[in-house]
C-alpha cells in the first residue's frame, strides 16, 4: 500500500483508470477512503504530528481527499454513461413524417418579398384580368406602338386582357395613394408565347416602385444591389445596361454577376460572367402625369423581374416548363 501523498495520488489514478465497472470504482473508494483506507490512514496521522507540521500536512491530506472524491465521482459517471445498454440499428429509417413542400416559385416569391418587406416596401396586389388602360395606355404604351409587340397579349373582350406584366399594379397603387410610395407586387402574368424551354404562356413577376421627392437613378442601383444580395448572396454584383421599356426613361436591363461561377464565366452566363435578369429604370414622366403626380416634385424608379428566371438562375433549372408540370421529383428537390 502506498503511504506518501504523491504515491497515493499516483496509485489511485492508475487504479481508477484500470477500473472496468462501477462496482470496481466503489471498491477502490473503500480501499482509499474507507475506515481502513490509505487516505483515512493519513488523516489519522494528523493529530499525532507536531503543531508546526500539523497545519500544513492537514491541508495537504484534506486536498488529497477532496481530489480523490472528485476523481471517484468522475470515473463513476464516465463508466455509467459509456455503458452499452442498447443495440440499435440506426441504418433503419425513422418513422415517416409528413413531407409537404411549398412550390419552388412560392419559396422564391416569399424570399423576394421578405427582402423587400425588411426594407419597408409594401406588397400590393391587383387583378389578373386587367383593363387595357392599366396594362398599356397608362404605362405609356399607346395602341399601335411597336412596344406592344414586346408583349403578345391574351384578350378576353375588347379592352379586357390578361395582364402581361405586374406593372398595372403600379398604376393602380399610384392612382390610389400619394407619394411617398415604396411597393412591390408579385403575381401571375400572361403572354401569348408558344411553349418551349424558356417560355410558358403564364409566368410570375415581381415588380417594384419607389416614388418620392429626390429619388434618383443612383437609388435604383442601390436598391437593386440590396435585392440581389438578399436573394443571391452578399457577393453578387449588379450591372445596368441600356435598354428600352416604354414606362421608364432612362431604361435599363439589369444584369447580375453570375451566381454559378461568381463572374468568372460558365455555360449558364455564356462565358460573360453576367446574367440578364430584368428591366428597370426611372419612371417615365408620362406615367407619372397619367396618375396625376406633379413631375416637378416627384420622381422615382421601377423594376420588374421574372420569378421563374430568378429560380432558374439560383438553382440551375434549364427548362421553365418544369415549374408548371408539378412533378413531385422536381418539387421535392427544393
Amino acid at each position: 500500500m502506498p503511504s506518501t501523498l504523491d504515491e497515493i495520488r499516483t496509485a489511485l489514478e492508475q487504479r481508477l483508470t484500470a477500473a472496468r465497472d462501477a462496482q470496481d470504482v466503489r471498491n477502490a473508494q473503500i480501499e482509499y477512503l474507507g475506515k481502513k483506507g490509505a487516505v483515512t490512514a493519513l488523516l489519522k496521522q494528523i493529530s499525532g504530528l507536531a503543531e508546526d507540521q500539523r497545519r500544513q500536512f492537514g491541508e495537504q491530506v484534506n486536498a488529497l481527499k477532496q481530489w480523490a472524491l472528485q476523481a471517484f465521482e468522475q470515473r463513476l459517471s464516465n463508466l455509467t454513461s459509456t455503458a452499452r445498454r442498447y443495440d440499435i440499428d440506426f441504418s433503419l429509417p425513422g418513422q415517416l413524417m409528413p413531407a409537404g413542400k411549398k412550390h419552388i416559385l412560392t419559396q422564391v416569391e416569399e424570399e423576394v418579398e421578405s427582402v423587400f418587406l425588411s426594407m419597408g416596401f409594401d406588397i400590393e396586389e391587383g387583378p389578373e384580368i386587367e383593363q387595357e388602360y392599366y396594362n398599356f395606355e397608362a404605362l405609356n404604351i399607346p395602341a399601335d406602338h411597336p412596344a406592344r409587340d414586346m408583349q403578345d397579349t391574351f384578350y378576353l373582350a375588347p379592352g379586357m386582357l390578361l395582364r402581361t406584366h405586374t406593372s398595372p399594379i403600379q398604376v393602380r397603387t399610384m392612382k390610389r395613394e400619394h407619394p411617398p410610395i415604396r411597393m412591390i407586387a408579385t403575381g401571375t402574368c400572361y403572354r401569348r408565347d408558344a411553349v418551349d424551354a424558356s417560355h410558358t404562356p403564364m409566368f410570375t413577376q415581381v415588380e417594384g416602385l419607389v416614388i418620392d421627392k429626390g429619388i434618383t437613378f443612383a437609388d435604383l442601383k442601390g436598391v437593386l444591389q440590396e435585392f440581389v444580395r438578399g436573394v443571391f448572396g452578399s457577393s453578387t454584383k449588379v450591372k445596368l445596361l441600356p435598354s428600352f421599356f416604354p414606362f421608364v426613361e432612362p431604361g435599363a436591363e439589369t444584369a447580375i454577376s453570375c451566381p454559378i461561377c461568381g463572374g468568372r464565366g460558365c455555360p449558364t452566363c455564356k462565358g460573360s460572367g453576367w446574367i440578364e435578369m430584368g428591366g428597370s429604370g426611372m419612371v417615365h414622366q408620362n406615367v407619372l402625369r397619367e396618375v396625376g403626380y406633379d413631375t416637378s416634385i416627384y420622381q422615382g424608379f421601377a423594376f420588374g423581374w421574372g420569378i421563374e428566371r430568378i429560380a432558374m438562375i439560383k438553382y440551375g433549372i434549364r427548362d421553365i416548363r418544369m415549374f408548371y408540370d408539378n412533378d413531385l421529383d422536381f418539387l421535392g428537390q427544393f
Binding site: 412550390h103 409594401d122 411553349v195 404562356p201 437613378f217 408539378n326
Partner: protein, 809 residues
C-alpha cells in the same frame, strides 16, 4: 436584323474585332443576339466563262465544257449539270483544289474524255442558302455580269465574313440599317477618342439634294394631311429593263443579307437595308391620271394588296391613291393593280416619311406585317434619308442600267422642318441621376452622339440630329447622358427614406399561412396554368368560364372556374409515372364571367389520390380517404379559428351523398367530397379522388379574433360508452345528445369507434364515444361523473332507442 461585318466595314472604317464590336454596341444598348462566322472552306475555285459546250461522245447525260479562265488560260470539264450554256460565268474547282465539304478535286476520266475540274453549285462553295434566290440554288451557280473571269471565287464573292443578328428595342429604329449601325459605330469611335461625332466618317453615299431629272414625264404628288405624311417624293424612271441585278450589286445584297428577287425589288430592298428607308415601286402607266395622292381612306374603300388579298382598311387609314382610288396602304403594302409586272416600262419609286402611328395602326388593323411597316412604325429619318435616298436610288438606276434615265421627280412636303432645340437644366439632370456632372461634361457626352448643345450658365440648349426621332423630352436626353457616360459609371446608393414597416394585405398573409399549415400537414403545393378547355368545363356542369379570344391552343381556350382541372392534371402526371399517391394543394385565382364583367376569386384547391401515407417498417400505409381530407380541413379551420358547420353539398364536381358544404355561420367556405367519377374520368383520373375547394376570401372573413378563456387546472376524468343504433343515425346526431346531457362539465367528446357488420344485427351500427369531464375550480368525484354518464346513457336509450353496449372507466 441580319447584316454582315463586311457591309459595316463598307459603311465606316473601324478596327474593333467582331467580339469587341458586339460588347461595345451592347454597352450602348444595341444588342447583337448572335454572331456567325463563315470561312472559305473550298480551295482553288475560280470564276470562269463557258466558251463552248458539246455532248459527251458516249455518256449521254454528260456535257463537255470548255472554259476561259482569263489570265489562267483555258481548261475543260465534264459535267452532268443541265443549266449551263455558252457565255455563262460560273465557278469551277480545278484539280488540286477541294470543295467546301472537303471533297478533293482531281483530274478524272469520263469514258475517253478527261475532265480537269468540277463546276460548282452553292453547296460546294458553302454559301448561305437563305441568301440565294431559287434560281441560284438550282444546279451550277451563275455569276452576274461584271464578275471578273479568272479571279479566285473568294475574291469574286464575299464568302469569308461574320453575320450579326441585331436585336433592337422599339425605340432604336435608327439602328435598323447599315447606315444606322455605322452611325452608332461612329458614336463608339467618338467616345473612345473623345472627339465629336462626325457624319463625314460615314462612307456610304449621302447626297443632300434631289436627283437631277429631265422634265419630260407627267407625275403629280399631293399630300392632304401633312401631319400623317411629312414628305413624299416620286421618282419616275423611263424605259425600264427587267432582269437580274449585276454581279457587284448582287454580292452587295449578300453582305446585306438580302435575297435577290429582281433588279427593281433588289433596289428597293437595298434602300431599306442600307439606309433604313422603305421605298415602293409603282407601275407608272397603271396609276390613273399619273397622280399620287396621300390621303386617308374613305368609308367602304377597298384595295387588293400585293399578296392578292382584298383588304378593307378602316375609314381614316393612311393610303396612297391615284385618281381612281387606293393604290397602296401607306408604308404597309402596295396594291396589286398598280404593281410592277413583266410588261412594266415606266416606274415610279415612292420615297416618303409617314407618321409611325398611322402606319402601325394600319398594319395592325389589316394584320399585315411587312419590313416597310416594321421600319416606319419605329420611326424613319425624315431629313437625311428622304433627301439622300432619291438621289441614291437614281444613281442606282443608272448603275444597274435599270432604265434609260430618271425623268421627273415630283415631291411634296419638302423641305423637312428643322428640329427645335430643348432646354436642359444641369441641376435637374443631376437631381435625376444622383450624379455630379457639369454643363461642359454634358456637352461633351452629347457631342459623341451628334447632339448639338449650347451651354448658358447651368442650362444646355440641345438639338438632336434628324435621325434621332426618339429625343423629344428632357428625360430622353438624360438617358443619352447615361448611355454615353456608361450605365455602370453612375454611383449607387440606397435612398434616404423614412423608416417604416412594410405591409402586406390580410389576404396575402392568409395565403402564406394556409400554405405553411398545409405543407406542415404533408401536402405538396402545385402551381398549374390558369387555362382550361372550355368544353371540359361545360361537360363538368360548371357555369361558363371566361373565354380567351385568342387562345394559344384549344386546350387552353378558357380561364379556370375551379382549381380541380390543374390539380387533376398534376395528379395524372405523377400517378402515371408510377407514384402511388398524390396529395397536393394550390392557392390561386379562379375566374368567372357575368354578362360583360369578369370576376376573380382567390381559392384553395386540395386533391388527394392513391396513398396518403407511404409505408416503411415503422409506418403502415394509409390510403387517402374522404376522412383524411376532412381531417385536413378540420385541422386548418380550427387552427385559423374559423367556426364551421357542414351540410350536404350539391357541387357538380362531387359525388352526390359523398360531399359536404362547409360554412361558417351563413358564409359558405367551400366544399369537399369524392370527385365525381365522370369528372375524374374526363380529367384522366382512374381511381377514387378526394377533392376540396375553399374560398380564401370567405375564410378571411370568417376568422374569429382570439381571446383567452379560463381553463381547468384540475385533473380531468374520462368515460367511454358505446351504443348500438340504427345505421341511419349520424354520429353528429348522437354527439348532440351526448353534449346536451353531459352538462357543462363535459369538456370534450371523441368518436373512437364507428362499426357496422360483423356480429352486429342488420341495419345497426355501434358508435363509441370517449368523454372527458373537467371542472374549472375543483377535482371531480367519480360518482358525480358517473351520474352524468348515466344521464347521457338514459337519453341515448330513450330518445334514440339505442342499446348500450358497454361502459368503461
Amino acid at each position: 436584323m441580319r447584316v454582315k461585318l463586311s457591309a459595316l466595314h463598307a459603311a465606316i472604317d473601324f478596327d474593333y474585332t467582331p467580339e469587341k464590336l458586339v460588347t461595345k454596341l451592347g454597352d450602348i444598348g444595341i444588342e447583337i443576339e448572335s454572331t456567325e462566322r463563315t470561312d472559305v472552306m473550298f480551295k482553288d475555285v475560280f470564276v470562269a466563262r463557258i466558251t463552248c459546250t458539246a455532248l459527251h461522245p458516249t455518256h449521254h447525260k454528260l456535257q463537255l465544257i470548255d472554259l476561259d479562265l482569263g489570265p489562267r488560260g483555258t481548261t475543260s470539264v465534264c459535267t452532268a449539270a443541265t443549266n449551263v450554256r455558252e457565255g455563262d460565268i460560273i465557278p469551277v474547282a480545278i484539280p488540286g483544289g477541294k470543295t467546301a465539304d472537303g471533297t478533293a478535286i482531281a483530274t478524272r476520266m469520263f469514258g475517253t474524255v478527261e475532265s480537269f475540274g468540277m463546276l460548282c453549285s452553292w453547296k460546294e462553295l458553302g454559301l448561305d442558302g437563305d441568301l440565294l434566290s431559287s434560281e441560284e440554288k438550282e444546279g451550277i451557280l451563275h455569276l452576274g455580269s461584271g464578275a471578273i473571269v479568272g479571279s479566285p471565287f473568294e475574291e469574286a464573292w464575299p464568302v469569308a465574313d461574320t453575320a450579326f443578328e441585331v436585336s433592337v428595342t422599339p425605340d432604336r429604329g435608327d439602328a435598323l440599317s447599315v447606315l444606322g449601325l455605322a452611325r452608332w459605330i461612329e458614336v463608339l469611335k467618338a467616345r473612345d477618342t473623345d472627339q465629336p461625332f462626325d457624319m463625314g466618317d460615314i462612307k456610304l453615299p449621302l447626297p443632300s439634294s434631289l436627283p437631277r431629272a429631265r422634265n419630260d414625264g407627267d407625275l403629280s404628288v399631293t399630300i392632304e394631311d401633312q401631319s400623317l405624311c411629312s414628305s413624299y417624293i416620286g421618282v419616275l424612271v423611263q424605259d425600264v429593263a427587267s432582269g437580274p441585278s449585276s454581279h457587284a450589286f448582287r454580292t452587295q445584297l449578300y453582305q446585306l443579307c438580302v435575297r435577290p428577287v429582281s433588279r427593281i425589288v433588289d433596289m428597293t430592298n437595298l434602300c431599306l437595308k442600307q439606309y433604313g428607308q422603305p421605298t415602293h415601286a409603282f407601275d407608272y402607266d397603271r396609276l390613273q391620271e399619273h397622280r399620287i395622292i396621300v390621303r386617308t381612306s374613305l368609308p367602304g374603300e377597298t384595295i387588293v394588296t400585293l399578296d392578292g388579298m382584298l383588304r378593307s382598311p378602316e375609314s381614316g387609314t393612311l393610303i396612297i391613291a391615284d385618281a381612281a382610288g387606293p393604290v397602296a396602304v401607306a408604308g404597309v403594302m402596295g396594291g396589286l393593280a398598280s404593281s410592277v409586272t413583266a410588261a412594266t416600262t415606266r416606274i415610279v419609286f415612292e420615297i416618303a416619311h409617314f407618321d409611325p402611328r398611322a402606319v402601325a395602326r394600319a398594319s395592325r388593323h389589316l394584320g399585315i406585317k411587312s419590313d416597310a411597316a416594321y421600319l416606319y412604325e419605329r420611326g424613319t429619318d425624315p431629313g437625311l434619308t428622304v433627301r439622300a435616298v432619291p438621289s441614291v436610288l437614281s444613281a442606282l438606276v443608272r448603275e444597274q442600267c435599270l432604265g434609260s434615265y430618271v425623268s421627273r421627280v415630283a415631291s411634296a412636303g419638302i423641305p423637312v422642318p428643322a428640329k427645335l432645340p430643348l432646354s436642359l437644366d444641369v441641376d435637374q439632370v443631376n437631381g435625376y441621376l444622383g450624379s455630379n456632372l457639369d454643363a461642359t461634361n454634358m456637352r461633351t457626352l452629347f457631342g459623341y452622339e451628334g447632339i448639338v448643345s449650347k451651354v448658358t450658365g447651368t442650362t444646355l440648349s440641345v438639338t438632336p440630329p434628324s435621325f434621332r426621332g426618339d429625343l423629344t423630352s428632357w428625360p430622353e436626353y438624360v438617358e443619352e447622358i447615361v448611355r454615353m457616360e456608361g450605365y455602370d459609371e453612375f454611383p449607387s446608393h440606397t435612398p434616404n427614406l423614412v423608416l417604416r414597416r412594410g405591409s402586406e394585405s390580410p389576404l396575402k398573409a392568409l395565403c402564406k399561412r394556409l400554405r405553411q399549415m398545409l405543407v406542415g400537414i404533408g401536402l405538396v403545393e402545385s402551381r398549374t396554368v390558369s387555362f382550361v378547355r372550355e368544353s371540359s368545363v361545360t361537360a363538368m356542369g360548371l357555369p361558363p368560364a371566361p373565354l380567351v379570344l385568342n387562345p394559344l391552343t384549344v386546350d387552353w381556350d378558357a380561364l379556370r372556374p375551379t382549381m380541380a382541372v390543374g390539380l387533376a392534371g398534376a395528379a395524372v402526371r405523377n400517378l402515371s409515372r408510377g407514384r402511388e399517391g398524390f396529395a397536393s394543394f394550390e392557392i390561386g385565382k379562379t375566374f368567372s364571367v357575368h354578362g360583360q364583367s369578369f370576376d376573380e376569386e382567390t381559392r384553395l384547391g386540395l386533391l388527394l389520390a392513391g396513398k396518403w401515407q407511404d409505408a416503411n417498417w415503422t409506418t403502415p400505409t394509409t390510403p387517402a380517404s374522404i376522412f383524411v381530407l376532412k381531417g385536413i380541413i378540420e385541422s386548418v379551420l380550427r387552427d385559423l379559428h374559423v367556426p364551421f358547420g357542414v351540410v350536404s353539398s350539391d357541387s357538380p364536381l362531387l359525388e352526390n351523398g359523398a360531399s359536404i358544404l362547409v360554412s361558417s355561420e351563413t358564409t359558405p367556405l367551400g366544399t369537399l367530397g369524392i370527385l365525381r367519377h365522370d369528372v375524374g374520368a374526363l380529367l384522366g383520373l382512374e381511381r377514387d379522388t378526394f377533392y376540396a375547394e375553399f374560398s380564401v376570401d370567405a375564410l378571411l372573413e370568417s376568422i374569429q379574433p382570439i381571446s383567452f378563456k379560463e381553463f381547468s387546472r384540475f385533473p380531468s376524468l374520462r368515460r367511454d360508452i358505446a351504443v348500438l343504433v340504427d345505421s341511419s343515425m349520424t354520429a353528429g346526431q348522437l354527439q348532440t345528445i351526448v353534449a346536451e346531457h353531459g352538462g357543462p362539465l363535459l369538456k370534450a367528446i371523441v368518436v373512437f369507434d364507428n362499426f357496422q357488420g360483423g356480429s352486429l344485427p342488420e341495419g345497426k351500427k355501434s358508435v363509441g364515444f370517449s368523454m372527458e369531464f373537467a371542472s374549472p375550480d375543483r377535482t371531480l368525484f367519480g360518482e358525480e361523473v358517473d351520474a352524468l354518464v348515466d344521464s347521457v346513457e338514459a337519453a341515448l336509450a330513450t330518445r334514440l332507442g339505442g342499446i348500450l353496449r358497454r361502459t368503461r372507466v
